[in-house]
């Protein structure tokens, strides 16, 4: 085993339907708000599900330096959200990056060393914008209904802007983030559905621990509140189609009287850095990133393991990596989907590790309030759980009455609860593919 450097978390940033920035989102969670409502971004009335969680309006220019404004035309929605998250995260960490200097929000002489600053982001399978694509397709339709490849090749494709492809490549989130904030150290983009954020954070954790970077911005972002984003999930039979008139109750993790997930959009990121680096710049330390583990449900790539074995492997590995035992963990952050087979699998995995009394531990999830955006959901949960640990507050988890009654997890459904939280564990899991990943954060102590 290599010598490991200690890694701490110094900033968290989110863009969620409850607010842009961790403060707004956290306050909204504490006031038990739910962000699911009728879809506004496009007319979803003819789809079996017409609700989702969409971000408040924002101006991209507030989150990027002037020098990058002309690149805005190369951004799909996911990239725009990544810009918001990255700015929020860097600001929360008090980290001085190129963006903050160019925006006049910080002094250049305190800028983080770009070659020691890395990025590791989770991203989704980003669908091309149908408004743009359909308009171009329309120029190459000769039978009234299908794309004529001859016409498309001759002329039709020229109706797409030359740089069209670059808007939708998953790694372009990290591309824009690294340019804006000048991060030149190891940079990766993990595309493992809802597990992406935890896997990306875990990898960046290792990168810093072995000394290949001193600081990393890491997390995940995705938007599924677009026609293909929700349409694909509907066709995969994952969506709650019964609660279009009850949007605030529609996303019910580990519940028993509702079935299916609700789509949303957003993302979460954290700034992690070596302890030395954080202390040398006198950064506020929110917690110590102490453990990472990942595993896989091998049962079938389309279905979770009924016994949640991959989940249990990820949890055990993360605990072992953090060198703590299950009874030393005070807060659990399960993923939760609202899809019975997924939630049953996940619950079985947690119980295999934490035992039958698991419901007595504090637990929190944003699933009821925020739905699932894909690659960004786990990172949002992780950011919220860090704040819970840092502030010794268990936030309410919306729509968890059934889960509490079943003694599945010790969620709080009423007002937030004060609690002494010394360690938390957060899990995310992909709906397609079987990836499972867990992260352990301990309250920071000097020794």
């Amino acid at each position: 085993m290599q010598d490991k450097r200690r890694v701490v978390i110094t900033g968290v940033g989110v863009a969620t339907p409850l607010g842009l920035g961790i403060e707004d989102t956290w306050d909204a969670l504490l006031s038990k708000r739910t962000a699911i409502g009728p879809m506004q971004g496009f007319d979803a009335s003819e789809l079996p599900a017409s609700i989702g969680g969409e971000l408040p309006a924002f101006k991209l220019a507030d989150y990027i330096p002037k020098s990058h404004r002309k690149s805005a035309k190369l951004m799909c929605r996911d990239i725009e959200i990544a810009m918001v998250c990255a700015y929020q995260t860097v600001k929360h960490a008090g980290l001085v990056t190129k963006c903050m200097v160019e925006r006049g929000e910080a002094e250049a002489d305190a800028k983080v060393d770009p070659v020691r600053f890395g990025a590791s982001l989770g991203a989704g399978l980003i669908p091309a914008d149908l408004r743009e694509l359909a308009a171009a397709f329309n120029t190459a339709v000769t039978d009234g209904k299908s794309l004529n490849l001859t016409a498309w090749g001759e002329e039709g494709m020229t109706n797409l802007t030359p740089l069209w492809l670059l808007k939708f490549l998953p790694n372009m989130l990290a591309c824009h983030v690294t340019i804006v904030h000048d991060a030149q150290a190891p940079c990766n983009t993990i595309t493992c559905g809802e597990a992406s954020g935890h896997l990306a954070i875990g990898e960046a954790f290792r990168t810093i621990a072995r000394g290949d970077a001193d600081v990393c911005i890491c997390g995940g972002v995705e938007s599924k509140t677009n026609p293909m984003g929700i349409g694909r999930q509907i066709k995969m039979d994952r969506i709650n189609t019964q609660d279009n008139d009850n949007p605030t109750l529609a996303s019910q993790p580990f519940g028993q009287d509702r079935e299916g997930m609700v789509v949303s959009e957003g993302g979460g990121m954290v700034i992690i850095e070596s302890l030395d680096h954080a202390q040398s710049r006198s950064a506020r330390i929110l917690g110590e990133l102490a453990g990472f583990g990942s595993g896989h449900d091998i049962h079938h790539w389309q279905e979770p393991c009924p016994d949640g074995e991959g989940t249990a492997i990820a949890l055990r590995k993360a605990l072992a990596d953090a060198n703590i035992k299950p009874d030393e963990v005070d807060l659990l952050n399960p993923f939760g989907t609202g899809i019975a087979k997924h939630d049953e699998s996940e619950l079985a995995g947690w119980r295999a590790v934490f035992g039958p009394d698991m419901g007595k531990k504090h637990a929190a999830t944003t699933r009821g309030a925020l739905g699932i955006n894909g690659a960004g959901s786990g990172a949002i949960d992780f950011a919220v759980s860090i704040m819970a640990l840092y502030s010794n507050t268990v936030p309410p988890s919306q729509n968890t009455e059934a889960a509490i009654a079943a003694n599945a997890f010790g969620f709080v459904s009423s007002d937030s609860r004060d609690a002494d939280i010394t360690a938390m564990i957060s899990l995310s899991r992909s709906l397609s593919g079987g990836q499972r990943a867990a992260l352990v954060v301990k309250k920071f102590q000097e020794n």
Partner: protein, 434 residues
């Protein structure tokens, strides 16, 4: 004490065949896998050719598991076939008492090809009025068509993490399971990060590499609009001309490259044959511009230097460079400049080649196949050529092993992969010595 990472198995599916030894023989012979596109009607596209994968015996390789993986996308099929070949070469099919929680998968897997007819017809239905006249896209009109035409399983199999999931399910691998999609740099990044996982102890064995096919109407459209592809339609066989002054873009290829990497003691304990050692890996971001590579090659220089440093090697120890060498004006010039910067006075003496001249560009899978070729080159003391190299470019003035393979002792090789978005990865592989 650092854990060492060795390669114990390799498999690939490429436009020049699917057995590593067959592909290797054909590369040394300077064969080329480029021909007119047959996967779709590309006759009127700006580029009408590609390097396609032909037959590969997936059903035979999967045996009684074949039916179970029948829904797999083209990407996942390539990856499954290459994985079975690599798994067998590593002797893992004969291994007893493996800890499957310590065996993982790390792929640079592309998104599966779009369900083309269904998704295009739904998009078109969404942008036609009741009289069939074109209108702006209307999701209300799109919705019923999409719900009728789209298929859940085909949508699911497009997810980029599905190839890694198929592999894990086939071999029952419960360890870490990652997919990276850093464009053309993805599989080198996957292998490098998988090595990091082994060194840390997150896993003892990783099935790693990449798989991708973008030879479909949307993929070719995207690259044609970027003007990244060669359009030498009248002479497509010679269209991929890395480092040649007449180069006019890359040629799209497809396929998979998979390696089994393993912690040294684990490999030795089970008596595995060790093919080579992965000695170092470097990864950087250009952090420069969305559309251009940094002119000085800042990111590639950093990646190569870090990889050498991690390997504990000097430029003089590198006897062969497998270039990213796409055949685009910009890449080949800047890669040459970066190699000059890192290798200094030694640069003109290091044999460099781009097998993309023969296989085309396998995008996310390119780096993995190129690493496999480096291992073969070390074993056989022979470097593959850059074919169709005839006209020197003053901006590309190094030794690109023109047109014919070259016998040369190779102790260690460096393989470069760079991707759109400023992703730079370099990996060093060397002959194994205990």
């Amino acid at each position: 004490m650092n854990r060492r990472t060795v390669i114990t198995g390799m498999g690939c599916v490429t436009p020049l065949g699917f057995e590593v030894e067959e592909v290797w023989r054909r590369l040394l012979a300077g064969e080329c896998g480029i021909a007119p596109t047959t996967l779709f009607d590309a006759a009127t596209f700006p580029t009408t050719f590609a390097a396609e994968v032909k037959e590969f015996p997936l059903a035979a390789l999967l045996g009684d598991q074949s039916e179970r993986h029948a829904s797999a996308s083209r990407n996942s099929r390539f990856a499954l076939a290459a994985s079975v070949l690599a798994w067998r070469q590593a002797g893992l099919d004969q291994a007893l008492a493996l800890d499957h929680t310590q065996i993982g998968v790390y792929l640079g897997g592309g998104e599966g090809p779009l369900d083309f007819d269904a998704s295009t017809q739904a998009a078109i239905a969404g942008s036609r009025d009741d009289d069939g006249q074109p209108i702006d896209f209307d999701s209300v009109r799109w919705a019923p068509a999409a719900m009728e035409l789209l298929n859940g399983e085909r949508e699911l199999e497009q997810e980029p993490n599905l190839a890694a999931a198929h592999i894990a399910s086939l071999f029952k691998l419960q360890g870490p399971n990652f997919n990276t999609l850093t464009a053309c740099a993805a599989s080198t990044q996957a292998i490098g990060e998988a090595c990091n996982m082994i060194q840390y102890g997150d896993a003892d064995v990783m099935i790693t590499g990449g798989t991708h096919s973008m030879i479909h109407p949307i993929g070719v459209t995207g690259f044609n609009r970027l003007t990244a592809l060669s359009t030498r339609n009248d002479d497509c066989y010679t269209a991929s001309r890395p480092f040649d002054r007449t180069r006019d873009g890359f040629v799209l290829g497809e396929g998979a490259g998979i390696v089994v990497i393993e912690e040294l003691a684990h490999a030795q304990h089970r008596g595995a044959k060790i093919l080579a050692e992965i000695a170092g890996f470097g990864s950087t971001a250009d952090a420069y511009r969305v559309t251009d590579i940094h002119e000085e090659g800042r990111g590639p220089i950093g990646a190569m230097r870090i990889a050498l440093h991690k390997a504990g090697l000097e430029p003089a120890d590198i006897d062969y460079i497998s270039a990213h060498g796409t055949g685009t004006e910009e890449n080949d010039k800047i890669e040459t400049r970066a190699i000059r910067e890192v290798f200094g006075d030694l640069a003109p003496n290091v044999p460099i080649s781009s097998i993309k001249s023969m296989l085309g560009h396998l995008i996310a899978a390119a780096g993995a196949v190129e690493l496999i070729v480096c291992v073969q080159a070390i074993r056989d003391s022979i470097a593959p050529p850059t074919i169709h190299y005839h006209t020197p470019d003053p901006n590309c003035d190094l030794d690109y092993i023109p047109n014919e393979a070259r016998k040369t002792n190779i102790r260690a090789a460096l393989s470069n992969s760079f991707g759109f978005g400023g992703q730079n990865n370099a990996i060093v592989v060397k002959a194994f010595t205990p």
